[in-house]
Subunit: 306 residues, 4 copies
């Protein structure tokens, strides 16, 4: 066995940029080494003009303060196709209405919070009455849209109605980036649709979006994916490639989930190679660390002149 790459210890310098820090990790191992590799893959991917860039967004990233980073990624053309959980889109709409999430604590008395009409998401608080405002925003939108449309079209209609350039849905609408959300009924948007359907017709087909997404996979010269947190977005992106003769060429996974439970969220990217979802020779790395820390670092490191 040839040992060729000695560990080079990271050195911290004055007023170091995020890009320089990532560079300092180039000779490191464990999480630091993986993060450097993710930065390298990300730079290569966004500079590859023939690469279609997918982004899977799970976890409560918007409540945590990661909304602007995602919408900027869309404006900067670093995301061509977004697949999200419903919750992130709900919280994006709430913020676009000028309503806020608040810093709280994860050691709160939840019964007291209930009495105070405050909903908790780990250490984020959300006033319950925001959902009343949300209803007032959403019901008129449902009234204006066609009776029959796909989930992506529904989300595009909503995005068009938001008056906030920092909104993920608005940015996606502006930039022509389709937003997929397979389990949209599993969100407050879904509850609004249920409410609306009690009196008005609305038909959103479950499977209509698949064709468009799979076509994008077929058409891609090369394809890359950034997966935040796993869940439905991860699988929906990867399985769309499964039915094509192609596979992902670049893949970055940011998660705290672990492989040993056998669930998809924590599954290694190598496992996806056995299915042919990720290519045999694709560059792929998982960074096992909090995505609210690693996603900003990767985006920042790629936003440097170096």
């Amino acid at each position: 066995m040839e040992l060729k790459r000695p560990i080079r210890h990271a050195k911290i310098t004055n007023d170091m940029t995020v890009s320089e820090l990532a560079e300092a990790f180039s000779g490191c191992a464990f999480g630091a080494g993986r993060l450097f590799e993710a930065v390298e893959i990300y730079r290569e991917m966004i500079n590859d003009c023939e690469c279609t860039k997918f982004f899977g967004l799970a976890g409560a990233m918007v409540p945590a303060g990661m909304r602007q980073i995602v919408s900027d990624m869309i404006r900067d053309r670093q995301i061509d196709i977004l697949v999200s959980t419903g919750a992130n889109l709900v919280h994006d709409i709430i913020e676009s209405m000028g309503l806020h999430h608040y810093k709280g604590t994860d050691t709160a008395d939840d019964v007291q919070l209930k009495h105070d009409a405050v909903n908790r998401i780990y250490d984020v608080y959300l006033p319950e009455h925001h959902f009343t405002d949300f209803e007032e925003k959403m019901q008129p939108i449902f009234k204006e849209i066609p009776d029959k449309l796909s989930i992506t079209q529904l989300l595009s209609h909503i995005g068009a109605k938001l008056d906030d350039d920092n909104s993920i849905l608005k940015c996606a609408y502006d930039m022509g980036v389709p937003v997929y959300c397979p389990a949209i009924q599993d969100s407050i948007i879904g509850l609004q649709a249920w409410l609306y359907k009690q009196t008005k017709p609305l038909n959103v087909d479950v499977f209509d979006d698949m064709r468009g997404l799979i076509d994008r996979c077929y058409e891609a010269k090369r394809a890359g994916v950034v997966i935040v947190g796993g869940g439905v977005p991860k699988n929906f992106i990867l399985q769309s490639m499964l039915v094509t003769p192609k596979s992902f060429d670049y893949a970055i996974q940011l998660t705290m989930d672990r492989p040993e439970t056998g669930g998809l969220s924590g599954a290694t990217l190598d496992e996806a190679r056995s299915w042919g979802k990720i290519g045999e020779n694709a560059r792929a790395v998982t960074v096992y660390s909090d995505a609210t820390i690693t996603l900003p670092i990767i985006v920042a490191a790629a936003k440097s002149r170096e």
Copy 2:
């Protein structure tokens, strides 16, 4: 502060039953203590005739060998409403066709597996050609069903066509237990629907199922939930209660996920109290341990004469 409950150390005896082991954990703390509490809550819940029992099934529980336990729970009337990921249902259908999953290893060479046409799910192997058989099974089923139906109705039709009493979908069909699967397009069932829709009409509405599920929440005198692995099933069950004046009275969560990432899968059940999804005085416990170990223990401990 009054300290009233001394730790009593577990004692192992000869030919101990699972129920006795759970009882031996009654004076313990950490995971053992939480497991005892889960057993207690589970017994109380299944013996409460006026309690509607929800079950959320995420993670690759069927590939891991937990299929019969779930189908027996349905036959034993321990599950009134099932919410599942698409993947568990796909793997249930595959097994019902007499096809197998196989024990493999999590340290496999995934590129070699790809060459051998074997798909990996942690330490489980699945021959790729099973999906060809799956297609041959599913396409005729799609041909026989109505053009327009809900996800639950689609799954009920599939269940009716399976010739295997150990199948989850078949048992659910037999017992009249509705199966919800919000992100069904995010599964090989979804890919089959996409294939079918290339030539034939099929319209499955995203939101149609919500009414039935929410109505069950409204109607429940009392409600209990067992959550395996989090994900969409967890949220879909809990949010359905959100729009009613009620809340869950019993809740058991079996997961390895952790709260600190802020994602829903790892969120504590207390967090759900702040939303009013779980009642202020509800009995609720999370067991942070592998669900392929804890679910069988809970079911076995409840299946004793004691």
Copy 3:
């Protein structure tokens, strides 16, 4: 690739014994499959008369209620050599004095607990004044022992003075099982020694115990190890084998720690093969699940007539 071992789904039966449950896991994967393998290895190991059995005890297993299981393992000759953290021994001594740990909650107000003079260990409470009683117990013991001795000898002296057959230290003393505790100063025993040494001589050599432990490794015809929780006990056991031409033949690791942080506690047992600590052909398995659940199951399954 030959696929030979189909997944067989676990079936729960009435009044099932723990041994039967383990057997039901024989065809399962993920944690259930690993637990079955651990049971198999454990049975083989304890039935191998020529095997020297090491046990590494980290994590707060005694406060959690696992004390009797460990002391019974010693009495049943399932442990030949015990390596423990200091904390587990401190809590063992406290219980042997008739003092209790108490069930509490992990969501306590810790500042209030401080005011109430209650120390918290996750969901276990310990009255602060127990440490006053502990001092009254320990200081006279220090007075009676030689000025100069090894850590193992010190622990043996303490064990001899305990009047409780369920005590780990007492059982170890009775059965002639040496107890190693490399970081003994990192415990309340250490603080008592510091107190004693302010006025009296006491010399306990850091390295004296190594010879005895390494000699046992040299002499072992075969060797097996059960590792609970990792930490110093894990490494101290494995490194003692490192300097011999031998290696462990059986190894079971019960932990929730994960490999990706690079720390030893979560390191795979395969990693230990690269060092030669565990043999190339040794039977070894890690069960990633709460050890307060898995250790009792393994011991109970082995305590059946089957």
Copy 4:
């Protein structure tokens, strides 16, 4: 309930410094919010001239490439007292001899590595023959030191003999920073001592170091602690404060470990308040993320002029 601190979404800018990134996290939650808080506490702590600064180093931080960061922290007077695992010191000595660790992969064939005489630490490789060189370095050092000394004195002697300004032990020696290592026998240094003691006298007392460390706790006007990875270093630092009337005023914990196992490594810092180890009003935060990423960020953010 008053909700006062709205979530402000992080914005990434061109050539952002690490300090600016940390500032961008000031309005975020989850890991990003915790990391910002850690940066704030760290800045306050290192600027507090009357604060004695403790550092607990567990996990394989040196093999991962974090050695220079720790030695620079010592030179920059950001560490007054270091408590380490033995392993980190062993790997520090190896690097100081001009020998390297190497980048490898965590999916290696460990039996092959064994045949190639390469030891693995997650994704780091270490040639086995380095330990032969290590022996040649260490045995002469043992010959020159007094027969009787404390662990700290032993490590100071070793540090004095290292010819590498980037070495942690050398820096500590140069700067008069004591290095504590309670479980030193649990390391290759320990194995070298065992070897040496086969022919020569050496007496290193287990408890001798406690007095010095506890005295530093007594004397500290204020005290702060940075805990990397938990383990013995975490507990040894915290328990030393326990016997004084004081408590830590600042505390930062960087770990991936979790509270639910009940072990000390993952225990919350709040738990330490119930013991009085950390003060009721102390500023304390745990960042649940890979320490090879978060430690460099905290140090870099503090090294800016802002």
